[in-house]
């Protein structure tokens, strides 16, 4: 009996060590970047390296915000492209998801299959013709040139999530409104959307995370510095940093990460729920 309790206790301690070790592996790189961003240059290049900042200074952040005007441009581009794409995706996927989930029409299955098919194709297949198209339409180097493909790329998954959300809403509410003579558009907007908000949150965070971090389309379609988004801009900052400044790079990384991190902390449960429920449905 005594021995069993000790064994159980030892087991618990080992598991806790394992849990801490696992967390550290995933979090340590972030902590390291944050610490580096708070050090002065002389401390960063001091040998031997120290892990904790000895004196916390904000000079690296000041440098990024005051002297690197291009960082502000990348940031503004990313915010505009992300927010506009996000809004369009949310509106269009809610409309389409409602039709797929709650209305009966011919070709329902076929269209849904098409929408799901495009989800599994690697982006390179789309990117080459989109690059040719945007060159013809003079959309290269414009924000619209990113907003249009980003909206399209995110719609299939968004429609799929919203379709599931609307299907899970009991039809009694909708039937009652239909009998009262409400139009489909009124029902969608007044009755269904308020109930579907958790689904909108899940769709929103998936879309935002993807758009904020998309690299390949932005790298191919945005060719001048004024059009870069953060993922592109930061890689150019890095190539400069190799002969130049780790502290500024660290501060820029933290600033790039911050918006996604804030959204993630606020909407975390919707993201986790979205992945896990999607997984359960198969």
């Amino acid at each position: 009996m005594q021995q069993a309790t000790i064994l159980k206790w030892v087991n618990q301690v080992i598991l806790y060590f394992l849990a801490v070790f696992v967390s550290l592996i995933f979090v340590a790189p972030f902590i390291w970047v944050v610490f580096t961003s708070l050090k002065s240059d002389s401390e960063i290049f001091h040998v031997p390296i120290t892990i904790f900042p000895q004196h916390i200074v904000f000079t690296q952040y000041e440098h990024v915000l005051r002297e690197m005007s291009e960082f502000a441009i990348y940031f503004a581009n990313t915010v505009i492209v992300s927010v506009v794409s996000l809004v369009i995706v949310l509106v269009l996927s809610s409309l389409a998801g409602y039709a797929f989930g709650c209305m009966s029409f011919r070709g329902n299955q076929l269209l849904l299959t098409l929408v799901l098919l495009v989800l599994t194709i690697p982006y390179a297949v789309y990117l080459i013709p989109v690059f040719i198209l945007e060159n013809r339409l003079n959309l290269v180097d414009t924000r619209l040139g990113l907003i249009l493909p980003y909206t399209a790329l995110n719609l299939p998954l968004a429609i799929f999530i919203m379709r599931g959300t609307f299907r899970n809403i009991p039809s009694e509410l909708e039937d009652a409104a239909l009998i009262d003579g409400a139009s489909r558009l009124q029902i969608w907007y007044r009755v269904m959307m308020p109930i579907a908000m958790p689904g909108v949150a899940t769709t929103g965070i998936f879309t935002f995370v993807m758009v904020w971090s998309e690299f390949m389309f932005a790298r191919a379609l945005m060719l001048s510095r004024n059009a870069y988004t953060l993922p592109i801009g930061i890689t150019f900052l890095q190539s400069e940093a190799q002969s130049w400044n780790f502290g500024v790079l660290a501060a820029a990384i933290v600033l790039t990460l911050l918006p996604v991190l804030i959204v993630f902390i606020i909407l975390q449960r919707f993201l986790v729920k979205g992945i896990m429920e999607g997984a359960l449905k198969g």
Binding site: S93, S104, L114, P122, A124, I128, L148, L155, I234, I253
Partner: protein, 312 residues
């Protein structure tokens, strides 16, 4: 007479219903139209366009229009030395990445499924890299973790663990460049897969474990005979997702190694990119993009076959 009237009524109802049905269908299509326009213009049409391009020779800078050459583009790609190198490198990446991805994420999911206090903190930490862009991950690891002089990894190895001889320039050493990319990719993707496994684990009824305990099964036997067989659907999902991430490897080498040293990290996806946007050979690039599609399709089907269920 009565029968006659009933018939009339029924016919009328049918007509009304069908008119309502027509209005319903038109409304449904109106709801779908804006979203479908985007998907058609930027996904379905490009899919067909690049498929056609893959049978042509098309230098985007010099050629006015693509010239049809049939399967010659595919032959050219398949015989290209750089294609063969990148195929080999992608196979190396996939063989290292995929099994580790499945094993580690399953292990973490099992840990997260235990009733440990503070497990939500572990879950959040493991999931954190998933929301960070691959580009930023690459920049972070190349600049601050894996670099020789001021990187965190060499610091821990050399100064904390006392393994000075293990320190090196991880990304410019041909022996460690690809393993380093695999490790960074695992760090980035394991959290996502672990969540899928966790969902599967939580769906297994407690009663199955109780029954196994009554039969005298130990923890290991319960894992092998109860947990794993009941995770079949999770394995299908994790498998498909893992296969896609194993084959379309682009940002990691593009940002961290530029395909080097000595082409040791030139992957298929990167090869496609170079053809399209450095050489502007759109025909060749489309062909190799479709070869990547084909690989993903084949391995996804194999995965579906291996994890198929015996549905009654």
């Amino acid at each position: 007479m009565g029968i006659h009237l009933a018939h009339l009524n029924e016919a009328g109802a049918k007509k009304r219903r069908s008119r309502r049905q027509v209005i319903e269908e038109i409304t449904a299509y109106a709801f779908l139209l804006p979203a479908l326009l985007f998907v058609f213009a930027f996904m379905l049409y490009p899919m067909l366009h690049s498929f056609l391009l893959s049978f042509t020779e098309y230098d985007f800078v010099y050629d006015k229009a693509p010239t049809f050459v049939g399967l010659r583009t595919y032959l050219e790609v398949l015989q290209d030395d750089f294609f063969q190198i990148s195929l080999k490198n992608t196979a190396y990446f996939a063989l290292g990445f995929f099994p580790l991805l499945v094993i580690i994420s399953l292990g973490i999911a099992l840990l997260l499924n235990l009733p440990l206090r503070g497990n939500t903190v572990v879950r959040t930490s493991v999931f954190l890299p998933v929301i960070v862009s691959l580009a930023l991950t690459g920049v972070m690891f190349q600049g601050m973790i894996l670099s020789g002089k001021f990187g965190l990894l060499n610091h821990i190895l050399g100064n904390v663990l006392g393994l000075k001889s293990w320190t090196r320039e991880w990304l410019t050493d041909p022996r460690t460049a690809m393993p380093a990319l695999i490790a960074v990719s695992l760090w980035k993707y394991v959290g996502f897969e672990a969540l899928i496994f966790l969902a599967g684990l939580q769906a297994i009824p407690e009663a199955l474990y109780d029954a196994a305990k009554v039969d005298g099964a130990n923890a290991w036997q319960r894992l092998v005979h109860v947990t794993l067989p009941n995770l079949r659907e999770s394995f299908t999902l994790v498998g498909i997702w893992g296969i896609i991430q194993s084959i379309k490897v682009f940002e990691q080498p593009f940002i961290m190694t530029q395909g080097g040293p000595a082409n040791s990290t030139l992957t298929l996806y990167y090869y496609t990119w170079i053809n399209a946007f450095d050489f502007f050979e759109m025909g060749k690039a489309s062909a190799s993009a479709y070869l990547i599609c084909f690989l993903i399709l084949v391995f996804s089907l194999v995965n579906m076959y291996l994890t198929r269920g015996e549905r009654v």
